[in-house]
């Protein structure tokens, strides 16, 4: 019987990467999961894997910037599982380049996925969590939301905005026992990144060595571990915090 047995969790962007790693850890902990993902074939694969683990799981399509889509996702969770205990806003996007080279709409696009998305998601679950007597929202951010970064004017800007949103939501949610936590992965080696880097593997380790004190990349499972902790009763007094799972990157 897993530590999250009975909990109903909505998780966005779980077709791959951190989202998928989180989904696997949630399933291991016996959570019931409604997840979304952009990539059709990969989402189906994730669904199959979770089902094979014996998890109660639904896959739903979601455009994070669509209020109607969010309503549909919440409804699916409520009709399938009767409640929504946790919302994990993991779906996100990044476009990195020098400010003068970024397209003019880069900021707007990233704000759409990284800020509007979580904003709409939180708005959608709020009344339900309130009625239930509480809930947890985890917004998956990044170290990029805490520090400036060359090439990150739009990305870091959007993530910093997301962080501010999380802190305010935490302040507002307390009275309804709705906790809000911002999760900050550092450099996480996802399948996508591994594919991109497979042509130049020799570049990876030197980059990791210089960027990450622990000299290892993060793995989706590491983020999943932190999420399971945050969803558990052990974390009942945590809200309005930034939790960094970054191998020491922000310790400097």
């Amino acid at each position: 019987m897993g530590v999250l047995s009975g909990k109903a969790v909505i998780l966005t962007g779980a077709s791959s990467g951190i989202g998928k790693g989180t989904a696997l850890k949630l399933a291991e902990a016996s959570a019931r999961i409604v997840f979304t993902g952009r990539d059709g074939p990969r989402s189906d694969e994730t669904l199959a894997t979770l089902r094979a683990m014996g998890a109660a799981v639904e896959l739903v399509r979601l455009d994070v910037t669509s209020e109607a889509d969010w309503a549909r996702v919440i409804d699916t969770c409520l009709s399938r599982f009767g409640r929504v205990d946790v919302l994990i806003n993991n779906a996100g996007d990044a476009v990195m380049d020098r400010i003068e080279k970024l397209p003019a709409n880069a900021m707007n696009d990233l704000i759409g996925v990284n800020v509007d998305g979580p904003f709409l998601g939180m708005r959608a679950v709020w009344p339900h969590m309130k009625k239930q007597g509480g809930g947890l929202i985890i917004n998956v951010n990044s170290v990029a939301g805490q520090r400036g970064n060359v090439n990150g004017s739009a990305y870091c800007g959007s993530k910093a905005a997301q962080l501010s949103l999380s802190l305010t939501a935490a302040a507002e949610g307390g009275k309804d026992n709705i906790r809000v936590v911002s999760l900050h992965p550092g450099f996480t080696l996802t399948e996508g990144l591994e594919e991109t880097l497979c042509t130049q593997p020799q570049m990876l380790q030197p980059m990791i060595d210089s960027m990450i004190p622990i000299k290892l990349p993060g793995r989706p499972a590491d983020m999943g571990d932190a999420v399971v902790f945050l969803c558990s009763d052990d974390a009942r007094n945590l809200t309005g915090i930034e939790i960094n799972v970054d191998g020491g990157m922000t310790a400097r």
């Binding site: 935490a170 007094n237 309005g240 799972v245």
Partner: protein, 239 residues
């Protein structure tokens, strides 16, 4: 699920309110716990107890060696900073001796624990985790408790420096901190006796809340977390 089966923990200041909760939780999670305190008194859940004067190097060396001798290894070290002025006093009315009576056990306690604990873990060669417990009130001024605030901020940054010094993956030693807000029985609850109106969770936390965070950071589930300060404060410092 016991995450610390086969592991050994040394908890300094084990007799404090938070110390007791940490001992209990680590033991419940399967660890053998050496409870160290200034008088070596017993703590529920502890496998053994030992005397430790946190401001004295020799005492730390002997407590660390004593833990390994008695319990076979050392995987987890927890330090807890809890010294404050008995009554709040402004800087203008505090002597240097009174100031140091607080900063010394808090800062030197954490420093010596880190300095000699990390080296001991390196010697033993099987990795480990250190968790420093200090105040969430580290980054704001604390009228009336200047030394406590100063200690907390020092410990916060010391945690990060120590983490960086052993971050190299061959050591597998992680160093993190838990930053404590308004917890029943902890000094912060005296320093802020009335619950702030805008405190998100509108309640005080419990020592068990702190112990849960310590247990998480000490566990393998936090294997990618180092140099991090985890606030257990019900949103106190968020707004």
């Amino acid at each position: 699920m016991a995450s610390f089966d086969g592991k050994v923990a040394l908890v300094a200041n084990a007799g404090s309110v938070i110390g007791r909760a940490v001992v209990k939780r680590l033991a419940a999670d399967g660890a053998k716990v050496m409870a160290a305190s200034s008088d070596g008194s017993s703590v529920s859940g502890a496998t053994k107890t030992i005397v430790l004067d946190v401001a004295a190097q020799a005492s730390w060396e002997s407590a660390l060696a004593g833990t390994v001798a008695a319990l076979g290894r050392l995987d987890i070290l927890v330090t807890i900073a809890s010294a404050t002025y008995a009554t709040p006093k402004p800087i203008a009315e505090t002597s240097l001796a009174e100031f140091k009576a607080v900063t010394t056990p808090n800062l030197e306690g954490a420093f010596l624990g880190l300095r000699f604990g990390i080296v001991k873990m390196r010697e033993l060669g099987h990795g480990g985790a250190v968790v420093n417990v200090a105040s969430a009130l580290a980054t704001v001024g604390l009228p009336g408790q200047a030394a406590y605030g100063a200690s907390a901020n020092g410990i916060r940054m010391m945690t990060r420096a120590a983490a960086l010094s052993c971050a190299d993956s061959t050591d597998k030693i992680r160093v993190n901190a838990v930053q404590v807000g308004l917890i029943d029985g902890a000094p912060e609850s005296d320093i802020v006796p009335t619950l702030p109106k805008d405190l998100a969770l509108a309640r005080r936390g419990t020592p068990d809340d702190v112990a849960a965070a310590v247990a998480f950071l000490a566990s393998d589930r936090a294997s990618y977390i180092t140099g991090y300060v985890l606030p257990v404060d019900g949103g106190l410092m968020a707004a």
